[in-house]
């Protein structure tokens, strides 16, 4: 059942409205909108916050900041490598730059610049990758970042956050402004259900148990909007007598090791869910952790070493094995591996 301590929306499952993830959440908002809101609030709270745009101000939602703080908005043109390095210079001076583009270009194209000038330098550059995942839809594989978590997770000094909804995207953006370190923030293009509220606790590095059945047999660790799909799967399975725990792992680095290990221990099997390549993403991170701390059977729901393609978000999620039915299947498989 839903964990009341998380202060999630009451109407999480009830309202109508098509969901990209197959659910029917009440309020459908792209996570990038949460960035747009959050970065304006961060700008109001701290004059050092600046936003850089590589010719995508509207679709990255950087335009909200541009409107309110034109003197702190820096347009660099279609030049992501320049954007990262200009930001590193601004950060060296004392600014807190948020760099905005699509995740395939930033941190895709400018990965080395981020590595050298933001991460090795340990500069508080906030890399905001929009249009991550298959939800980018009709634009096709070139614009659907499915490797960005792996790219950024392997980088020392970098914090990696993948918010589950727009509200959490807002909170994550605000929190990122305060770390004093480089941060990667991952956002999606299409509308997805809002699950959290301003009362939902949010702390970088602290995963959240959104759902816990009595006597759960499988721990489902999900990130991004697929947390909602995982909740739908959990609800359905509970009706069939299969208990689970669903955890929102918004921070992929640093991973909330204590929570993940203790739930793996408690349940005995694990499913990971992400809109990213299985290699190097959340699943990889959890597998690395559990292999050392608490070897546990794991099933991975994620993209299986393939590029995306054009299509509507919902049909892509189904085609690539990221639907609610796939999560249910993975949970059953995880149980079957233990003879349950």
């Amino acid at each position: 059942m839903i964990n009341k301590e998380m202060h999630l929306r009451e109407d999480l499952f009830s309202a109508k409205g098509g969901s990209a993830s197959g659910g029917d959440g009440p309020t459908m908002v792209p996570t990038r909108n949460g960035f747009g809101k959050g970065v304006v609030e961060a700008g109001r709270a701290d004059v050092r916050v600046v936003v850089l745009s590589a010719d995508l101000a509207e679709s990255t939602r950087a335009d909200a900041f541009q409107k309110e703080f034109p003197e702190r908005f820096v347009e660099v043109g279609v030049a992501e490598q320049n954007m990262a390095t200009v930001a590193a210079g601004m950060a060296a001076f004392g600014k807190i730059p948020f760099i905005t583009s699509y995740a395939t270009f930033s941190p895709g194209r400018n990965w080395e610049q981020i590595r050298t000038t933001a991460a090795i330098n340990n500069m508080p550059v906030k890399v905001c990758g929009m249009h991550a995942g298959l939800l980018t839809g009709p634009d096709g594989a070139t614009h659907q970042a499915l490797e960005d978590i792996a790219l950024m997770r392997a980088m020392p000094n970098m914090i990696v956050i993948s918010p589950c909804d727009a509200e959490e995207g807002r909170r994550a953006t605000l929190a990122a402004a305060k770390t004093g370190t480089p941060v990667y923030l991952r956002f999606g293009r299409d509308k997805t259900p809002v699950m959290t509220t301003p009362e939902t606790p949010f702390e970088i590095g602290k995963a959240q148990v959104f759902w816990k059945s009595n006597n759960p047999k499988v721990a489902v660790f999900a990130t991004g909007h697929l947390v909602h799909s995982a909740l739908l799967a959990a609800r359905e399975l509970e009706g069939k007598g299969i208990g689970t725990a669903v955890v929102n792992v918004h921070t992929i680095k640093p991973l909330d090791k204590d929570l993940i290990v203790s739930l793996a221990r408690e349940t005995g099997s694990v499913v990971t869910v992400e809109e990213h390549q299985i290699a190097g993403g959340l699943g990889g991170a959890i597998a690395e952790l559990l292999a050392q701390e608490c070897p546990t059977p794991i099933e991975f729901v994620g993209v299986q070493d393939k590029f995306g393609q054009s299509g509507e978000p919902k049909e892509l999620l189904e085609a690539y094995g990221l639907g609610v039915s796939h999560i249910i299947e993975a949970i059953k498989k995880a149980l079957a591996r233990r003879g349950i």
Binding site: V74, Q81, N82, V86, G89, Q113, T117, N121, N122
Partner: protein, 282 residues
Amino acid sequence: MTITDEEVRQIALHANDIRQTIVRMLAAAGSGHTAGPLGMSDIFAALYFHVLKHDPKNPSWPERDRLFLSNGHIAPVLYASMAHSGYFPVEECLTLRKFGSRLQGHPERHMLPGLESTSGPLGSGISQAAGYAYAARMDGRDFRVYVATSDGEHDEGNSWEGAMFASAKKLGNLTQVIDRNFIQIDGNTEDVMPLEPFGDKYRAFGWHVIDIDGHDIRQFIGACEEAKTVTDKPTLIHARTTPGKGIKSIENDYLWHGKPPSKAEEVVFLKELELAREELLK
């Protein structure tokens, strides 16, 4: 501001010290780049002993001018200039590239006070310096930002992105010094990937370009002064330099771009530099 012959001679002597230290540190390290550091010694001596507003005893002095080194592989000339001007003991230069040293093979900002950036991967220094200059101007600060670059790294698109940005934002507080030595690892720049007409490219990009002989200390200092008077565009000091300058047998030889002197060559090179020093003292 005029500069006297005696001041120029003193800077030339500092440049000679720097060259000798470069040869010693590279021979001790057993790896590293020789031609670029020797070629930029006159300019770095002028920067550290005349041009830059800085305080070696207080490397984080907020009012200091900032110098970004974009082509991090010429770190020996940066380290030697810093050491000779008082940032740290000259003998520490001999730890270059050794385990545990603050003098990393390519400069790392967090390792050594006085470094403004981490560099080595080429082509990102102009943008970093431009970002810094842009932020400083936002806050009404009046120090200058300098960035030393190489010609080879202008093969990188990021260099030109930075050049466009600095010009678009009219960064009059930014001065770039290009080490135009015409060599890179695989050969001469005009064979590997032609850059000419280099100065005209920058003029077309909206920069104020000053062409100088990179071993004429008086010309270089004059160009730095001129740059300060141009407030609506960034300045490029287009310095024609001789790679390996000061060691006749290796000058202009691209094979010396990326290798150090052997112990035997060190002795010969230092002797040649000592003779040059005696000439300066005459």
